[in-house]
């Protein structure tokens, strides 16, 4: 029997692109950072770096219009991009948008998408400076490019973690994926539960926390948790050429009343490790700075969840005193995108 051909993974795609774009990035001076981190960084003035990043959301892959309002869609498309600026310690400044829409789309739909974008843009004082509107044959595509800036000596990348550094996350993990499962099930929502749904539809990018951590020079490395803790921890470790150990009982999870727990297909920890789309920050801090890490930043809790080790790319989960290998089981577009039975189908 011939082995079934595996679909390519996102990593394979990115490696191909990386090889070609690395040559291309050398075309111009001033590229301080290109593909491989949350944003690219360009030297525009001696003391400031311009941060540039883009992320698209696609109907049927990232969102389902059965439960995403057009305003939610606009909000989320900008939020995922602001989150990339947050993880570099930067300030978001400007955004452009490219939207492709089926021909029969009413004008009111577009207006609402832009209202959602503008609402979040206003909260972060981001200017929407233009974009492209075109037709699509099937479904809505919305791509946002975000431009921000950071002081050249304050930028935090994925690559600065060193063995012994402590690992932290902001906020809670797993709520967004739990919210999505509830949305897809379309059951009636209690108050506790609806906060998860909100986390999924209208995530709050952690720009203030990112700037604080960079400004105080606390974070040695940082990434935003978009694909899930297990996957994004691997991204950070690979880029820093280190490993990590995290403790299951320290991972901040949403509180679910016991009466509600059977509404979910998995245990909360599973969502916290692999759920994705929480847009919290995962960062490392050198041991000597531990005392300077606050318990919360402007009301947003900060939790120490483990530490960095020296085995490159190897991550461990310690659970009840026993350690087991932590695999990157968060979202991979080209592995998971075709599933329809799990919550990943509609991410």
């Amino acid at each position: 029997m011939r082995p079934r051909k595996q679909p390519p993974t996102e990593t394979q795609f990115i490696e191909k692109i990386q090889r070609i774009t690395c040559q291309s990035a050398s075309q111009r001076r001033g590229v301080a950072l290109s593909i491989g981190d949350d944003t690219a960084a360009l030297r525009i003035r001696s003391d400031r770096l311009l941060l540039v990043s883009c992320d698209a959301v696609v109907e049927g892959v990232h969102f389902d219009l059965n439960y995403f309002s057009p305003e939610d869609l606009g909000w989320k498309a900008l939020a995922v991009n602001l989150s990339d600026i947050a993880s570099m310690g930067g300030i978001p400044l400007y955004a452009t948008t490219s939207i492709a829409l089926p021909m029969a789309t009413p004008v009111g739909f577009v207006e609402k998408v832009y209202r959602g974008l503008a609402m979040l843009a206003a909260q972060h004082r981001v200017a929407l400076i233009g974009g492209d509107t075109c037709a699509s044959r099937h479904g809505v595509f919305l791509d946002v490019t975000i431009i921000g800036e950071v002081h050249a000596r304050r930028m935090v990348t994925r690559g600065g973690a060193r063995p012994g550094d402590l690992l932290y996350v902001t906020g809670e993990l797993g709520g967004s994926a739990m919210g999505l499962e509830l949305l897809a099930g379309r059951s009636r929502l209690s108050r506790h539960i609806s906060s998860m749904v909100r986390r999924h539809l209208r995530p709050q990018p952690r720009c203030a926390a990112g700037r604080f951590l960079a400004g105080q020079r606390l974070a040695s490395a940082m990434i935003d948790i978009s694909d899930g803790l297990s996957t994004d921890l691997h991204h950070l470790c690979e880029r820093s050429m280190v490993g990590a150990m995290i403790y299951s009982d320290r991972i901040p999870l949403p509180r679910v009343p016991s009466s509600q727990i059977n509404r979910f297909s998995s245990a909360p920890l599973s969502y916290g490790l692999n759920g994705g789309e929480d847009y919290e920050l995962l960062f490392t801090v050198p041991q000597r700075l531990r005392r300077k890490v606050p318990r919360s930043i402007r009301g947003l809790p900060v939790h120490e969840i483990g530490h960095i080790t020296s085995e490159t790319g190897v991550c461990w989960l310690c659970q009840g005193g026993r350690r087991s290998r932590l695999s990157p089981c968060g979202f991979d577009h080209f592995r998971d995108g075709h599933l329809t039975a799990s919550h990943r189908a509609i991410r």
Copy 2:
């Protein structure tokens, strides 16, 4: 009988977006130009403006993979963006890319798309600095954001034309649309004809010409011809609050051997006026500078095709000594995108 509801036009979409983003652009200082021109412009240093623009290409709307190779696709997605920088008189510097692909896409396809992007990027010394790769349910979507710069006092917009200014275009008009008709018909191509096909698949953005016209302070207004001369002339006139008169016998059209002319559904002039996707530059020059306009810029011919008048938004075509009103009959995504019988169906 109830009147049939018209699908919304692209202008209606853009007006909605414009209303919302104009408020938003005021969130940040430094926005010199936002939605309504070929690019946005940001004041980053006192003497330089950063130009930012994005344009997406969508499968089944802008291209058909039956006759677009993946390299063509990558090339064209970057070319349409470089053309926007050209029309502002700017220098393109950096580009980001967002690509959404059906799950079953082979890795080799992505590699070839990026090779096409990188080939054109190298010609213009543009650095590809990163992007996003994700899954789509249907078809390929490729969005490029281009970042360039221009001297603050050299930037040319759509809004600077004055009555009496002369109207010029670079190169030839109509070849791209004629090439597309041949591609869609899949007939065998002669040498004359294959240059049209190449114009459609791999347009050459006119960056050097744009920089020359801005650097010499010749152009009072400029736009690139992406939607077709008739439509883009209206865009320029509306923004400048002027009108125009053009002469049909001065419009530079591709030479088609008489043996080949019956391969096309319309007369060459019709493609030249309404075809679109030629990515030539349409610009205006004050009368007193007429003598300074060269016949060609680095081998690219320049043709005077008419002049600017004072009737806002009113354009005339003079043909055989008689004038008739010129309507904007170039491409409109939301009016034309759903046709399948004409060449516009697959633009």
